[in-house]
């Protein structure tokens, strides 16, 4: 199947490439390519240089959870001893791994695997972990490597308790980059392709440029972009950063949004439908993604700013490892106060947000445990009201729609009072 990008919509182009990537991952072993399961913010440029097919368990968790197809996977993880309380993305991928093992052992896909909608994906030949978002990923990928008895490449990104990123931190990361290369050469049994690596770095910067262009469109008032779509398109920036497909999809989307704005077409239709502008702090509630988006729309609240999608604004100079190290280290969740709160202030101010919704994500301690301090910091700075709600990025058991709606309506009242 081929697609004419010029004549297709961004959504059609997105679906086309996502389908193509899944097909590639499914047939990688048949074509003699290795498969790596990678953390979403590990530098994909390395695997791209070695023609490794990369699968992202965090994306699987989001996709399976938003399609309500991961309950069986969470149960499979629980049967192995990985129970509730642990990150649901980790449990999702451990359950998925277990189902794939059963498929390999028995020759047919278990029911939970069929429900997930990703039965074609292969088990990994190795995993690649990078702890620039949290330390839970270290334990998660350590477990995957041990459960499957496969190699684990680690890129350890130390927590930045002071900013800017220190020189010794960048030196440590740059040295690890070289060790990642050595380990990849051993695993892939071929020399590292430095030219391809450079091209992957260049392509990553081109994709990231388009990603930032899309995100900035939500900052316009009124906005042509509904921020929930930013979460939806996050899949492509995670999976295709070093590929041309990422740039093509995101440029198409940004162009469409530009055209919409020029034509007076905004996220909620007419400009006046956008009553309140809100920043969303935390991951999406993937099992209730549509419901949360719908509730926003019903209250006239537009998701104008979000911290998590901005984590993929990884900007560096191709060919400069210190610059690359700094970019992968400066992810705001990997940085202490006040940098982290300043980043939130920047998003709120750039997006002209009038309120903030904090997702207390029961699967994500690093994101949720400093919400209170972040909220107070922003409020002290510019008086923006906020609210919290309980949820989970990939486990449907925590979130309740009624609490979410009540908290959002409460926030709209506060925003209305402040306006008047």
């Amino acid at each position: 199947m081929k697609i004419n990008v010029g004549e297709s919509s961004a959504e059609e182009v997105l679906d086309y490439y996502l389908h193509q990537i899944e097909e590639e991952a499914g047939s990688a072993h048949k074509e003699g390519r290795l498969v790596c399961w990678s953390a979403a913010l590990a530098p994909a440029e390395f695997c791209e240089a070695m023609d490794v097919s990369v699968v992202y368990p965090e994306i699987h968790a989001a996709v399976f959870a938003s399609g309500k197809g991961n309950t069986g996977l969470l149960e499979a993880a629980a049967r192995k001893g990985y129970g509730r309380g642990l990150c649901s993305c980790a449990r999702n991928s451990i359950g998925f791994m277990e189902m794939l093992k059963q498929r390999t052992a028995f020759g047919s896909a278990p029911e939970a695997l069929q429900e997930s909608g990703a039965a074609r994906v292969s088990l990994p030949d190795f995993v690649f972990v990078c702890n620039n978002i949290c330390d839970a990923v270290l334990k998660w990928y350590e477990a995957l490597a041990r459960e499957l008895a496969i190699p684990c490449i680690i890129l350890d990104v130390p927590y930045n308790h002071t900013m800017p990123v220190s020189r010794h931190n960048k030196e440590y990361l740059a040295a690890q980059f070289l060790d990642v290369v050595k380990k990849l050469e051993r695993i892939c049994k071929k020399p590292f392709d430095y030219e391809k690596f450079y091209q992957a770095q260049v392509q990553t910067q081109r994709t990231v440029y388009q990603w930032k262009r899309v995100a900035a469109l939500a900052f316009r008032k009124p906005s042509p972009l509904n921020g929930f779509d930013l979460f939806k398109y996050m899949e492509i920036v995670v999976m295709c950063r070093p590929k041309m497909a990422g740039e093509i999809v995101l440029r198409k989307f940004a162009d469409e949004l530009e055209a919409d704005a020029a034509g007076g077409r905004f996220a909620y239709g007419e400009a006046g439908e956008e009553k309140y502008r809100v920043t969303w702090e935390g991951n999406a509630v993937w099992p209730f993604f549509n419901l949360t988006g719908r509730t926003f729309k019903e209250t006239g609240s537009l998701l104008a700013g979000a911290g998590v999608p901005g984590m993929w604004n990884i900007t560096y100079i191709p060919g400069d490892l210190a610059s690359m190290a700094e970019a992968y280290s400066s992810i705001y969740l990997n940085c202490g106060a006040p940098y982290r709160y300043e980043e939130l202030c920047r998003i709120v101010e750039s997006s002209q947000s009038e309120g903030i919704v904090f997702h207390i994500d029961h699967s994500c301690k690093i994101a949720s445990f400093l919400h209170r301090e972040g909220a107070e910091y922003v409020q002290d700075r510019n008086g923006v009201p906020f609210t919290y709600f309980d949820g989970d990025q990939a486990d449907p058991e925590v979130f309740t729609g009624a609490q979410f709606e009540n908290r959002l309506r409460e926030l709209t009242e506060k925003m209305e009072i402040r306006k008047s």
């Binding site: 308790h161 060790d179 982290r340 445990f369």
Partner: protein, 369 residues
């Protein structure tokens, strides 16, 4: 034993005595691993901060979401109650997401916090990790010198490393004696000796441990009819858990607790550069869920230790909401079963007030053994 007990009962008095005797102050040490030797070399008392098992959370209920571990929660509560206001500084390591956030929440009325990060890529990038750890420790030293208005010499740091290594050796010998004199040394006494280590200057602790050892060795080897176990996890607190073990005839032959033997397992190696020596200790350290190793040697280490000390079983003390321990447990359990090692996992949350369920589980386990 009374000296150890008094030290635990009143850390404030221990601190006061230290101040009176030395004219120097106290630096708080947050869980879990810290190059305490640097603080010691400054002449200050490193004081372990693990919260309190007996505190109810009232002032800081809103400070954390419900899914935080009670160590972090009780430290925050004690901080709000002013328990740490007399410290000269606190040092934070951040080997898990909760401790990262705790370090950023710290606001104890002007007591400065010094945060450092342990490197985790200790196998594939050993040299770079070692250099990173050394630089982090150098910065800790520099910050302590500025805050405490002292100069920490290389010789002083080497002397402190020697004192700490002697203390580790004494504690390991004590732990061995606990296995040998299982009928004499109760689990709660063993814990008291280890807990006191967090409040005492280490050469004083070593002297007291050696004194206790002499007294123990003077006793005839007692006949022990109970069962020996190995305990693993973060900590065994609250102390009621230890009393339940005693009531059911258990003796602790060895431990793999973050609060106890993981602190004394690895000596600091010899090196002309003491900061590098401290860094190398972390690089060599293993078998802890907070120290990344994809080969996950902890289960093998526990099985070997249990066999070495004649333990009949392993009891894993699982704190609530502790990701690192919870991620390790399924693999531990599988390897215990493959080896025929009996094991039990009990949720030992320091904030627990009701012990009936733990009591029933431990009693049943004792009967099964």
């Amino acid at each position: 034993m009374n000296d150890f007990k008094q030290c635990i009962a009143s850390p404030a008095r221990t601190i006061l005595r230290y101040r009176e005797r030395t004219g120097k102050g106290v630096v708080g040490v947050m869980p879990v691993y810290c190059p305490e030797e640097i603080i010691h070399a400054a002449g200050f008392l490193p004081l372990g901060i693990w919260g309190s098992p007996n505190i109810s959370i009232t002032k800081t209920r809103a400070a954390w979401p419900s899914f935080v571990c009670s160590v972090a929660q009780s430290i925050t509560e004690l901080e709000a109650l002013g328990a740490y206001r007399d410290l000269d500084a606190v040092v934070f390591s951040v080997p898990c997401d909760t401790l990262k956030c705790l370090s950023q929440k710290w606001d104890s009325s002007g007591v400065p916090a010094i945060v450092f990060t342990h490197p985790q890529n200790r196998r594939d990038s050993e040299q770079a990790a070692c250099a990173f750890a050394r630089e982090e420790y150098r910065i800790v030293k520099e910050k302590l010198e500025a805050l405490l208005r002292v100069s920490i010499s290389t010789d002083a740091l080497k002397a402190s490393i020697r004192i700490y290594n002697e203390n580790r050796a004494a504690c390991r010998a004590f732990s061995d004696a606990c296995a040998q004199y299982a009928g004499l040394i109760k689990p709660s006494w063993r814990h008291t000796v280890f807990r006191a280590r967090w409040f005492m200057e280490k050469s004083a602790h070593t002297a007291l441990v050696n004194e206790l050892m002499e007294a123990v060795r003077a006793e005839p080897l007692p006949d022990f009819q109970g069962r020996k176990i190995l305990v693993s996890g973060i900590m065994t607190e609250p102390e009621e858990v230890l009393h339940i073990l005693e009531e059911n005839g258990f003796a602790i032959a060895a431990d793999d607790l973050a609060q106890e033997s993981r602190q004394i397992r690895e000596d600091v190696p010899d090196d002309a550069d003491p900061l590098l020596a401290l860094a190398r200790q972390w690089i060599r350290f293993d078998g802890c869920p907070l120290a990344f190793n994809e080969r996950k040697p902890r289960a093998r280490m526990l099985i070997d230790t249990a066999k070495k000390y004649g333990a009949d079983a392993v009891i894993v003390c699982m704190p609530k909401h502790c990701d690192p321990e919870a991620f390790d447990y399924p693999i531990l359990l599988r390897e215990f079963r493959a080896e025929g090692m009996k094991s039990l996992c009990v949720e030992t949350d320091p904030g627990t007030t009701s012990f009936e369920q733990i009591g029933t589980r431990i009693q049943t386990f004792a009967e099964l053994l």
